[in-house]
C-alpha cells in the first residue's frame, strides 16, 4: 500500500518544529489525557502532525511531547521492543508504541486517526503512564527465580537441548504488561494474577533445573490463579514478543490437573 499524499496544511505546527519531511502525511493522534494535578477527569486531546510511513507511533508521541505539548507523559526507553516500557492501547489493542509502524496504520480512505490510551486495569498516574506496582506484585508472588536445593555443582548444571527448549518461549517475556492488561478477566478482577505472572511461573515450572514447581502450582491453583483464565487469546495477540501466552497458561492448567490426579 502506498502512503496517502500530504493533503492538508501544516500551518498549525510550531514554527521551531523540524521541517516536515518529504513523503510525510498529516495524521490525527487522539490521546486520552489525565493529569490529576490539574484535571478532574480523563479527557481526549487531538493533535494533527506529520507522519512518515517508517515512523513508529512512539515517534509521533515524541513529536507531540517535544514540539507541541511538553506535559504529555509516557514511559519509553529502548525504542525497539526489548525494554517493555511503552505498552499502550493503540487503536483499541495493546501494543508497544515503538513497534507499531505508521505504514501499517494509514487509513485506506480519508485522513488517518490513531487513538492512544493507557493500558487498562492498572491505575492511571498521568496520561499514558500507569502504576505498574500491582503488576509486579503478581509477578513477585509466583516466586520468579530458580529454586534448587542441595550442593551446587562445581561447573554448570547439565540441561539437555530438549529440556532447555521446553520453556524457551516463556523466557522471552519483557514484563511490559501488554498481555495482562488486555485480559478481560484482569480488567474486572484485579486480584487475578494475570497472564504475565503465569507466563513467568511457566518459565520456572518447566525448567528441568528448578525444584519449586509444586509450590508455584499451589499458588496458581488459588481462587485468583489460572482457573480464572477464559481462554480469550487477547494476551497472545497482545504479546509483542510473540509468546504463545494462552498456550502457556493451558500448559500450567494441565500440569495442575495431572498432578492432582
Amino acid at each position: 500500500m502506498t502512503a496517502p499524499t500530504t493533503n492538508s496544511t501544516t500551518a498549525d505546527l510550531p514554527s521551531d518544529a523540524p521541517p516536515v519531511p518529504e513523503g510525510a502525511t498529516m495524521v490525527t493522534v487522539k490521546i486520552e489525557r489525565y493529569n490529576p494535578e490539574v484535571d478532574d477527569d480523563l479527557h481526549w486531546e487531538s493533535y494533527r502532525i506529520p507522519a512518515l510511513p517508517s515512523d513508529r507511533v512512539l515517534n509521533l508521541l515524541h513529536y507531540i511531547k517535544w514540539y507541541i505539548d511538553g506535559t504529555l507523559t509516557f514511559r519509553r526507553s529502548c525504542a525497539h521492543g526489548v525494554c517493555g516500557s511503552d505498552a499502550m492501547r493503540i487503536n483499541g489493542v495493546n501494543r508497544l508504541a515503538c513497534k507499531v509502524l505508521m505504514k501499517d496504520m494509514f487509513a485506506k480512505k480519508g485522513e488517518t486517526t490513531i487513538t492512544v490510551e493507557p493500558i487498562k486495569g492498572l491505575p492511571v498516574e498521568k496520561d499514558l503512564l500507569v502504576n505498574m506496582e500491582p503488576f509486579f506484585e503478581a509477578y513477585r508472588a509466583i516466586k520468579p527465580y530458580l529454586v534448587a536445593t542441595g550442593n551446587e555443582p562445581t561447573r554448570e548444571r547439565i540441561q539437555s537441548v530438549a529440556e532447555r527448549e521446553r520453556f524457551d518461549d516463556t523466557t522471552k517475556c519483557i514484563l511490559c504488561a501488554a498481555c495482562t492488561t488486555s485480559c478481560p478477566v484482569y480488567w474486572s478482577e484485579g486480584s487475578y494474577f494475570g497472564p504475565a505472572a503465569i507466563v513467568n511461573a511457566h518459565r520456572f515450572i518447566f525448567d528441568s533445573r528448578d525444584e519449586a514447581a509444586e509450590e508455584r502450582l499451589d499458588i496458581l491453583n488459588d481462587v485468583d490463579g489460572v482457573w480464572r483464565c477464559r481462554t480469550t487469546f487477547n494476551c497472545t495477540d497482545a504479546c509483542p514478543r510473540g509468546i504463545q501466552v494462552t498456550k502457556a497458561i493451558q500448559e500450567v492448567k494441565r500440569a495442575l490437573m495431572f498432578r492432582r490426579r
Partner: protein, 596 residues
Amino acid sequence: MQFHKYDVVVVGAGGAGMRAAIEAGQRSRTAVLTKLYPTRSHTGAAQGGMCAALANVEEDNWEWHTFDTIKGGDYLVDQDAAEVMAKEAIDAVLDLEKMGLPFNRTPEGRIDQRRFGGHTRDHGKAPVRRSCYAADRTGHMILQTLYQNCIKHGVEFFNEFYVLDITMTPGSDGTQHCTGAVAYELATGEIHVFQAKSVIFATGGFGKVFKTTSNAHTLTGDGMGIIYRKGLPLEDMEFYQFHPTGLAGLGILISEAVRGEGGILRNADGERFMERYAPTIKDLAPRDIVARSMALEVLEGRGAGPNKDHVLLDVTHLGEDVLESKLPDITEFSRTYLGVEPLHEPVPVYPTAHYAMGGVPTNVDAEVLADNENTVPGLYAAGEVACVSVHGSNRLGTNSLLDINVFGRRAGIAAAEYANQHDFLELPEQPAKLVEGMVDHLRTAEGGERVANIRTALQETMDANASVYRTEETLKQALSDVQLLKERYGRIAVHDKGKRYNHDLLEAVELGFLLDLAEALVNSALARKESRGGHAREDYTTRDDTNFMRHSMQYKQLPEEEDPNAPLGLTGFRSDIRLEYKPVTVTRYQPMERKY
C-alpha cells in the same frame, strides 16, 4: 525533602547495578535507586553473548582471552584488569547459570559457545568459540535473571528515583569521602537525600550524544555527568565504539552474533570486502576495524542502496533453522523495522554509536579514582559508566556483559565491606542544595530555547564531526557547536511545570549531562593526535605509542565561587577542562602492530 539512611546505595538497576546489589544486599543494608523500572535498562538489549574460556566446545583458556582483550583494545587496556576479567569470566558465567540463566546448550547439556569478533584461539590464529549465549537475547536473560535474584534476596528498590547529585564530606584526613546520593522522585517531584557509607554508580553510557545510536533514549550519561561535575576525572572519553551493524538509517542493533554464526558483509558489488581488510578473521575482526572498513566502502562509492550509503549483511545462506533458533530477535527486527526478510534478502546495515569505552576511572575493586593514584573513599562505579580500563580503545563484543558481571560483583562486595568497616560520616550542610536549585530553576525558567532542538543539534554535529572518522577540523567544529549549544542550554524552558512525573524536566536535566559529556569526548579526541582503536583520525592515521600510549584524564574546572549568572549551577557553559594523562598498566604483552 525526605531523608533515608542505608549502608550501601546502588545507583542504576541494569546489569552492573543489580549484580552489585545482589552481593551488597547479602552483606549490608542496601538500596537501589533507579530512574527506570529495573528490567527496562539497556543491558536487556545486548544480544550476542558473554565470553568466558569455559572450553566447553573447543580448546580455550583465560590467557588467550586476556590477550584478545588487550589486542582488541589496541594496547590501551590496563593489562592487570583484563587478566582479572578474563580469569573471573568463567565463574561469572557459571554463577549466572546457577542463578537460573537459560543458556543455550551443547548436545552434552553443557553451556554452548559460539564465535565472536576478535576472540581467537592461541593469540590470533583463528576464531574461537568463547561466547556463552541464550539465543540472541543474552542481555535480556542476564537482566531478567539478575532481577529475579534481587527479588529472591529481597533487594530494596526505589523505582523511578532519578539521582542528580552525590554528597561529599571531608574525612579525618581531609580527603573527600562520598557520603550519600540525592535523588528526585519522578512520581512526586520530591527530593530525597540518601545518606550512605558507600555509593555504587552503575548508570550506563551516554549514546544519546549521537543521532544514530543503538542506545536507549534514557542513556544520557547521568552518572558520569554527576561525578564529573564534582571535579572528579573522566578517563578516555575520546574512545567511543561504533557497532558495525546497526539497521541502516535507524541504528537499531543487529548483533555481531549474526557474523559469529556465519553472516557475511558485502558491498554493492556483492564482494565480501572484509577479506581485504582482515584476511585471517574477515567478518569477525573487532568492531573498530569492521566499522572503519564499512565507512571506507561507502566513502569509496561501493555502498549499497539508492544513496550508496550502507552495506549489506548477508545471512541468506544460513537457513531458517539457524535464524529461528539462534537469531530470532534479529530476524524480527529486520522484518519489523525495515520490512526486510533476512532469509531471502540481505539486511542493510551501517555503523551505529554503541558503547563508551571511557568513563569514571576505577581500579579493579571498582573504587573510583580521584586522580592518577588516589581513590575517593566510599565511591564505586561499575559497568559502562566506569573505565577500569578493560576495554582500552576498543571493546571486544561480549566483553561488556562480562564487565558488568565481573566488576558489578566486585563493586558490590567492595562497597559492602567498606560499609561494614566504617561509620557514617556526617552529611554536608544543605545536602540537597544543588539539586533543589537545579530543579527550581528548570521548573521556573522562561527562556525561549527548546530542549528537543538543542538535543537534535548536538546529535547532528556529533554524528557529522565526531563519529567513525575524525579530523582536527571536524572536531573543532564539533567543539564550537557544543559550546554554542551549552550557551543556548542556559536559556531553555521546560513546558511542564508540574511535580508529578515531570519527564519534560527529566529530559532537560539529561540534556545538560549530554552536553558536558559531548564536550569532554570532543576535547580529548582533539588532543589525541593518533589513530588507535575506536578513535580514527584521518589527519593522524597511525598509532603513536611514544606520545599517546596513555589514558586521558579530564577534569571539569569548577568555579571558585558560585556564579549567580550561571544557570543550573555547575552546568555553567564556560569550557574549562583540564586534560591530563595516566600511564597504561602493562604486565606481559608489549604493544605490537594490530593485524587480523
